[in-house]
């Protein structure tokens, strides 16, 4: 159902970087949108994609991967999750709240609501709600079990609903 650029686009060229560049050209737009969703609001999506790509290329080439998109997506989720944990360790709660508040003012909508979900939860919602993957497909893409994806999707929706309702109540006051 979902098409994906695969790594084996050619085997006659000696220059892996050339082929990897071609592969990356095709998968970049989707990866960037994914990174923009999964990463924290103050995290540059291109930085996430770049770091995921760099980590991948240190180990292998894109053309050698069965699913470079899937591999990079999983890497992006891990990086985003690690960054989130590091941020919480580095910053005190008050500082973080102040930062989020500043970001809320910087961005013209309430996109920061999504920051209250984990990176993995955002990835699950994005893949299922926007890219229309089934839970089973999203599970395979993220390296999670089917049940884990279903649970995360349900929990994230409930959590977001509660957040939005709180916001509404607060805004009405």
């Amino acid at each position: 159902m979902h098409n994906e650029v695969v790594g084996n686009i050619g085997s006659d060229g000696p220059d892996n970087a050339y082929h990897d560049g071609q592969i990356f050209d095709e998968i970049y737009p989707a990866l960037r949108r994914f990174a923009a969703t999964v990463g924290a609001i103050d995290q540059d999506p291109d930085d996430l994609v770049q770091e995921a790509l760099a980590r991948t290329l240190r180990r292998t080439t894109l053309r050698e991967l069965d699913s470079p998109t899937g591999y990079l997506r999983r890497t992006i989720v891990r990086l985003a999750a690690d960054s989130r944990r590091s941020a919480w360790r580095r910053q005190g709660a008050l500082k973080r709240l102040a930062s989020l508040d500043a970001m809320s003012q910087q961005f013209p909508s309430d996109l920061c609501d999504l920051d209250q979900l984990s990176a993995t939860d955002r990835a699950v919602l994005y893949l299922t709600d926007i890219e229309a993957y089934t839970h089973l497909e999203a599970a395979a893409l993220l390296g999670l079990s089917h049940n884990a994806v279903r649970t995360r999707a349900s929990r994230a929706r409930r959590q977001l609903k509660a957040i939005l309702e709180d916001d509404k109540v607060g805004g009405d006051q």
């Binding site: 990356f24 540059d44 930085d47 770091e51 790509l53 760099a54 909508s109 999504l114 609903k161």
Partner: protein, 330 residues
């Protein structure tokens, strides 16, 4: 659910894309730099995003050396000519710059161009957000920059034409009549006085399992206004898209127009799976709602929206036909 989708879509488009070539070049430069100075590589593993700053600087340096070129603007809703945003200062956008990857062969394909007058994503978005009537909470007009591809317009599912069109024109759309989302071919046979009286009740949903019967709500609206079509089913609901809307001629149903969803991407499924406990539930029952919004630019008439859905409950999936009727009055 539309709000969540809009949030996710808008979030996925935030920032200024550096482009695939720029990111790839920066990543390869990052690796080369770490290889040359392993002590820095170790440091970068300790502070991942500290090293990203260095990489970003490298990328910016690389990008700054790119000669100017031109880039076309395209809009998905209108392939016609485009112009820059009035009042938008012309200038190169980092996100649009394409840089050859160091160490890679030169590709003989046409060079991706950068239009110096092209509005940046945030500028266009800000402009639309500031428009009267635009609801920034809904993020109803979004733009997609593929990084190396053309600009094009995506509209939210529920953006009224009177809000979208000024924005569409402002970003260079030259044919406002094509600004509304979706492609609808309205047949002349749908024009005419609406059916009098109550909306005719449709036959029961064609479900192989009575427990999965789909319930529908009927709505009346005036021409040009939004209409809220909803249905509910026990268990999971599959949100259909590209649904055919027919109109009643007085004797038979004839094709009216098609409601298109915003395509997530090529090859994407035309169905969306929802959880049984999705926040769409409107009461404490076991039912789950699905809601779809269409813009009945269609003439006054009685319409029905039909489609097929796969409804799954307790792991068992069945095909079912749904039908929702609505009336547009003059």
């Amino acid at each position: 659910m539309t709000t969540l989708e809009n949030k996710l879509r808008a979030r996925s488009l935030r920032g200024h894309p550096r482009g695939s070539t720029g990111v790839f070049a920066a990543a390869t430069s990052q690796i080369a730099e770490e290889g040359a100075r392993p002590q820095l590589a170790i440091a970068s593993r300790v502070a991942i995003f500290g090293s990203l700053t260095t990489a970003a600087v490298v990328a910016v340096v690389l990008l700054a050396s790119v000669p100017e070129s031109t880039r076309a603007i395209d809009t998905s809703d209108t392939p016609a000519e485009t112009t820059g945003v009035p009042g938008t200062p012309a200038g190169p956008s980092e996100s649009n710059v394409v840089d050859p990857v160091p160490g890679t062969p030169t590709v003989s394909s046409p060079t991706t161009a950068v239009d110096r007058s092209a509005p940046r994503l945030d500028e266009v978005y800000d402009q639309c957000v500031k428009m009267a009537g635009f609801d920034p909470q809904g993020v109803q007009v979004i733009l997609d920059d593929t990084g190396t591809g053309p600009w094009w317009v995506k509209t939210g599912f529920d953006v009224p034409a009177e809000i979208h069109r000024p924005c569409f024109e402002a970003i260079g759309g030259s044919d406002p009549s094509r600004s509304s989302h979706g492609t609808r071919t309205i047949l002349a046979s749908c024009a005419g006085p609406e059916q009098p009286g109550d909306i005719p009740q449709p036959p029961l949903a064609n479900s192989p399992d009575p427990a999965l019967a789909i319930h529908q709500s009927a709505t009346t609206t005036t021409a040009g206004q939004q209409i809220n079509l909803s249905w509910a089913a026990a268990g999971e609901v599959i949100h259909p898209v590209d649904s055919l809307v027919e109109c009643w001629t007085g004797a038979s149903w004839v094709p009216g127009f098609t409601v298109h969803d915003m395509p997530a991407r090529a090859g994407a499924s035309s169905a969306r799976e929802l959880e049984t406990d999705t926040p769409l539930s409107n009461d404490e029952s076991a039912y789950t709602d699905g809601t779809i919004l269409v813009h009945p630019l269609a003439p006054a008439a009685t319409y029905r929206l039909t489609g097929h859905a796969t409804i799954c409950a307790t792991g068992v999936c069945n095909q079912a036909t749904y039908e929702v009727r609505f009336k547009v009055v003059s």
